[in-house]
């Protein structure tokens, strides 16, 4: 932390040295250039120098004495300003910045922890949900299985009942047919008996003459007389 702070201050000082004197030099060189050019012009008029020399000298007027080192005053004032700024920064800026960073770090840490907690909570919630979903799926599967089993049972019962009904109907139909056949046979037998007896009655009636009648009476008397109730 300390090393980072020192590096930051050094970078700030270097930036100040590079930029602030540059600006001061640029702002003060116009007068100097004019003054240098007037001086060289006067030397040319006085023929102290020739034209070629004047060109060289004039170009030199435009050139800065050093691209890196500003004027001494500027360095002093710049240094003072730098120290003031550095002092202010070290005294007030960095603590505030550090505090802000610390707060921000703490805030980020808290947020991360909160996010982690939320993620854990969400993970737990997900797990709960997964568990509930799994339980619901199991329950649904169980219900479906039970429903299927019940449906199978109902279907089996219906089929069994239908088969039983069909068997009953067949049995009744067979019984009815048997009964109808027996009735028809009985009717036929009754008719045959009736016709046979009728025929026999006619034959008997035709053959029962007086002597036969007397014989029947005699037979009755003998049979009844020979029995005792």
């Amino acid at each position: 932390m300390r090393i980072r702070r020192l590096v930051a201050v050094s970078l700030l000082a270097l930036g100040t040295v590079v930029t602030v004197p540059g600006v001061a030099h640029a702002s003060g060189s116009a007068g100097e250039i004019s003054e240098c050019l007037l001086e060289k012009a006067e030397e040319l008029e006085a023929k102290e120098i020739d034209a070629a020399t004047f060109d060289v000298e004039a170009k030199n007027c435009y050139a800065a004495p050093s691209p890196l080192l500003p004027a001494t005053g500027e360095i002093i004032w710049g240094g003072i300003a730098f120290l003031i700024v550095a002092f202010g920064l070290i005294k007030f800026g960095f603590p505030a910045l550090r505090k802000g960073l610390a707060d921000r770090e703490a805030k980020i840490r808290e947020d991360l922890e909160a996010a982690e907690a939320a993620r854990a909570s969400a993970r737990n919630a997900d797990a709960d949900h997964e568990q509930k979903i799994a339980e619901a799926r199991n329950e649904a599967a169980k219900i479906v299985a039970e429903a299927r089993e019940a449906a199978d049972q109902v279907r089996a019962d219906l089929v069994a009942r239908a088969e039983a009904d069909a068997a009953d109907i067949r049995a009744r139909a067979n019984a009815d047919a048997q009964l109808a056949t027996e009735r028809a046979m009985a009717d036929l037998q009754a008719q045959v008996a009736e016709l046979s007896v009728e025929l026999a009655e006619r034959v008997v009636q035709r053959n029962l003459d007086r002597d036969t009648q007397k014989a029947l009476v005699e037979s009755f008397i003998n049979e009844v007389g020979g029995s005792r109730s």
Partner: protein, 175 residues
């Protein structure tokens, strides 16, 4: 008709027959008349029908009883019809015959045959039936062609059936 009323009519008939001293003849004639009415639906309907004038019904009774019947018999039959008891004629006469036979210490044997039986046959038949039922019986013979042949006798609740009709019925049952 109640049994008491039948008994009362039968006892009245028996009293009159005894008073006339012709119990057996009256009994026999009324018995035949009752059987004739019993075997003819049209005749029975005519005698029961009260919308017919009484004279008409009396004429039917007289015609059916015949000219040879005793007047007492005809009068008794007409009295039953006139009293509106023609439908109970058979029951009254049967009870009358039973009471008369009981007075002679006998049971009535109602015999149906296809032919007339002479006195000898009737006597032998009465003896045979009496032996069979263990009682003294007297016959009331009815000639009934429906029996075809043979004899059926009924003494009280006992029936002895030796008719051809009965055998044919048995044959029919067997078939």
């Amino acid at each position: 008709m109640s049994t008491e009323r039948v008994d009362a009519y039968a006892e009245a008939l028996l009293g009159i027959a005894r008073a006339e001293g012709r119990v057996e003849e009256i009994e026999d004639e009324l018995f035949r008349f009752a059987r004739a009415v019993e075997g003819n639906d049209a005749l029975r309907s005519a005698l029961v029908d009260r919308s017919l004038p009484a004279e008409r019904r009396f004429a039917v009774v007289s015609e059916l009883m015949g000219s040879k019947a005793l007047e007492t018999s005809t009068a008794l039959a007409a009295a039953i019809v006139a009293a509106g008891r023609a439908s109970d004629l058979s029951a009254i006469v049967d009870r009358f015959v039973e009471l008369a036979a009981a007075g002679r210490e006998r049971e009535v044997a109602e015999v149906r045959t296809a032919i007339e039986l002479d006195a000898n046959d009737q006597a032998r038949l009465a003896e045979a039936i009496g032996r069979a039922v263990g009682k003294n019986v007297e016959l009331k013979v009815i000639v009934d062609p429906k029996v075809l042949g043979g004899i059926v006798a009924r003494v009280g609740d006992t029936v002895i059936d030796g008719t051809v009709r009965h055998r044919l019925e048995q044959l029919k049952e067997q078939i």
